[in-house]
Symmetry: D2
Subunit: 140 residues, 4 copies
């Protein structure tokens, strides 16, 4: 399963080089990730009450600059699922379907009541089907 979300580039997202500021792709990844979970039946407000998923690593590869008012597609999926961490992989494409950026975020699971890292709970694993897993992940 891959979830696709559309994002319109705002003035706020651009910088003086007239392209999207490089750090803002991590915001676009966040939007894609949250929509993936929503489509899997897990709205973020509910997830946060049960578990936190801090990012332990984030990577972006910049292929082609995006510009003001571009309509981008963020395609997000779970590319890896280990005992205590999982990885989302992302592709961002423009309206001509050309690749703008790729990347991933690796997440751990943190249990608010005990304030400790824990293994990925089963209810979360259930939305990360094998079919998702990428035989050739973008993780270096």
């Amino acid at each position: 399963m891959a979830a696709t979300t559309h994002i319109r580039v705002r003035y706020k997202d651009t910088d003086t080089m007239s392209v999207v500021y490089y750090g803002n792709y991590l915001t676009y990844f966040e939007v894609g990730r949250v929509e993936y979970l929503r489509q899997a039946g897990l709205p973020m407000a509910q997830v946060n009450q049960r578990i936190h998923m801090p990012v332990v690593e984030a990577l972006v590869r910049y292929v082609k600059p995006a510009r003001l008012d571009d309509l981008l597609a963020v395609i997000s999926r779970v590319s890896e699922c280990r005992r205590a961490s999982f990885t989302f992989s992302y592709e961002i494409r423009d309206e001509a379907s050309e690749l703008i950026a790729t990347g991933h975020t690796r997440h751990a699971c943190w249990d608010p009541p005990t304030q400790r890292m824990i293994a990925i709970p089963d209810w979360l694993k259930k939305i990360m089907p094998d079919a998702d897993l990428d035989p050739a992940p973008t993780r270096p």
Copy 2:
């Protein structure tokens, strides 16, 4: 008393028009306000444990654009102090001391334990001397 803080314009702050994005002046005001409180002996982390000061109104007047790598001075002071709200006024100037923007933020006092708005406590009033108050505030 007025507190002056210096801020270097980051790529992140600019937009595709090659000027500082208009919403980011409210971030610069925030930095000025927090530094005002720090200089008055009230680091933000301590303030937050006692009281919250939500913004109820914010105004910015844009005089001259600021650009990448400009070194700005944010001059902050308390321009008004009522029973249940107070107002910070700001001036932002560039290195040639030319005016970039002015504005204000009006704040209420919110008490976390009771979850209610309250009058300004005395310990906070103490750092808002009469001398600060502006006979002709920028508030319209």
Copy 3:
């Protein structure tokens, strides 16, 4: 004519007080304004080639905090149109239609070829019908 745009609150938009950071409402206003122009047949990329519309004043009144994952409606319209400036007024409402914030942005017209401020051109005035104008604008 009023244009309504929907915005989902991102992690990136929130702050440590667990509400939308006060400066980000100006980003929401920007999104509303750009969508207003798009609905009037003027995509921003086209507008920028003909004229720039720098903000000369921005005001936000904060009524009720918005939080992570809230779906907000930004209602934007032109509330005033003078010879050389015009004003957008905004309302932001949550899914229960409760008021989150109001405000306005006042804009001038700047002509890139001559690098000067100019009167509002007719093609821009045409999308600012009288019916839009607010007899009691939120401008203070």
Copy 4:
């Protein structure tokens, strides 16, 4: 040579989890990188007139969360210098010198007049001494 810059965590930088938003570390890297260049005698405004240095890859490893009003040190250096790309590596530490995050950004050189990628010019190579180069770079 390594350049150290100090950054105070702003409200704007935090999110509803009461920590610095994960994407903002790329802003902190930007500030560190620009200060590195300034200390090497190359203010960004001058660099931009001669060459652009688009980021082709960015990586962040998150070690420990940073919070509101923390004073962070960003330590930046050039860890790799190839014919047509170079890499900045970063460490972010808190006031107790504990590690908050590490990462890198890899940059290409783009020539504005010809609108093409070029090899790293000599004047830029000069500020990237061998001593900088990391035998065990954080690049995966």
